[in-house]
């Protein structure tokens, strides 16, 4: 009888072993790697970032050395800002097949238009330019449709005081630069309604300000696979 008991126990153990093997389960956790390349206008000697202001009133003057890009607009005093981040200089390089999840242009407004809420547009530049050569009269060509815009001014609900402005999403442009379907010539920033009767001024910190707290930035978030 004892042997029969042992046999039964052994048989039960065998059954349990088989059942455990049959119910083998796999568990895993989602793993999401995200890479960011941050291009910065600091130090000012960098060639990864170039920027300059152009002024309608002085159409042949190059303002490469300005520490601020002043955008004012009324009559013929329109001013524009050009900025370019060399996306190809990201380390490590962003693969052409990468998917850009977001790209945010960040400029620091040292002064915002007073008593108003203006719209500042960003247009992709479509031809090459240089910091030392650009003037109002030699501006590069740009897309006719703006890439993005944001509102800025003391009466706006956001971007109403000095600080990094929010709202310039340039993801589509950067995706084109990375994939090679468009050349990286940066962006032109201007008021949405230039030549207004009243003068309004927004001032952005330029690379030449050599600031570690107000430097121009482009933040690119991407994944290596589609």
């Amino acid at each position: 009888m004892r042997r029969i008991g042992i046999l039964l126990a052994l048989s039960a153990l065998l059954t349990l072993s088989t059942a455990a093997a049959a119910s083998l389960s796999l568990t895993s956790q989602a793993l999401t790697p995200i890479r960011n390349c941050i291009l910065s206008g600091y130090p000012s000697t960098t060639t990864d970032v170039i920027d300059a202001m152009v002024e309608q009133n002085n159409p042949n003057t190059n303002y490469n050395n300005a520490t601020n890009s002043v955008m004012s607009h009324s009559g013929n005093t329109n001013r524009r800002t050009y900025v370019e981040f060399l996306v190809a200089d990201c380390v490590p390089a962003i693969p052409p097949t990468a998917t850009i999840r977001s790209a945010t242009l960040r400029l620091y407004a040292t002064a915002v238009p007073a008593g108003t809420c203006r719209t500042d547009d960003v247009f992709a530049a479509t031809s090459a330019w240089t910091e030392t050569g650009i003037t109002w009269n030699t501006q590069p060509t740009s897309n006719s449709t703006r890439t993005t815009y944001m509102q800025i001014g003391s009466t706006c609900t956001s971007n109403n005081a000095a600080g990094y402005v929010t709202g310039w999403n340039v993801t589509g442009d950067v995706q084109s630069y990375v994939s090679g379907s468009a050349s990286d010539d940066g962006w032109m920033i201007r008021d949405d309604a230039e030549s207004s009767a009243t003068s309004y001024t927004a001032t952005y910190e330029a690379k030449n300000g050599n600031s570690t707290t107000e430097n121009p930035e482009l933040i690119i978030s991407y994944v290596d696979v589609p």
Partner: protein, 140 residues
């Protein structure tokens, strides 16, 4: 001379033990040879935080980072509780930080874009014109 009943029991015992050994051996040597593991599908919740971007703290040395997302990933069941690991490098030095979404300092602030942090890096990273920040999100 053993009795016939005893011999039968011994034979049965031998067979069962041998069978058990074979079964255990098969289980221990389990291999996956099949290309088809079943037709069932299981939906895996996946956090849609893949537009997370890193905003570096100001100053000549980066000591903190803030994370930004266009979606409120703390309010997303597929994200709440996920672990985040951030590493910032300038190619020479690097600093890292970790947190859990929904637990300070990785709690949501603002109404969009949503920000988390700041997270303090394990080591300061000198600011350069190009820095790399990698985020690895695990779970939840």
């Amino acid at each position: 001379m053993r009795r016939p009943g005893t011999l039968i029991r011994m034979a049965v015992t031998t067979v069962v033990v041998a069978g058990a050994a074979i079964a255990v051996g098969l289980a221990a040597g389990l291999t996956t040879l099949s290309n088809n593991i079943g037709a069932a599908q299981a939906a895996t919740p996946r956090c849609t935080g893949s537009d997370l971007s890193v905003i570096e703290g100001t100053g000549a040395t980066i000591t903190t980072v803030t994370l930004s997302s266009s979606t409120n990933i703390d309010n997303t069941s597929a994200c709440h509780g996920a672990s985040l690991a951030v590493t910032v490098t300038n190619g020479t030095t690097s600093g890292s930080a970790t947190c859990t979404i929904g637990t300070a300092p990785c709690t949501v602030a603002g109404t969009g874009p949503y920000t988390f942090g700041p997270l303090t890096l394990s080591a300061g990273v000198a600011r350069t014109a190009a820095t790399q920040a990698d985020i690895v999100m695990t779970g939840p």
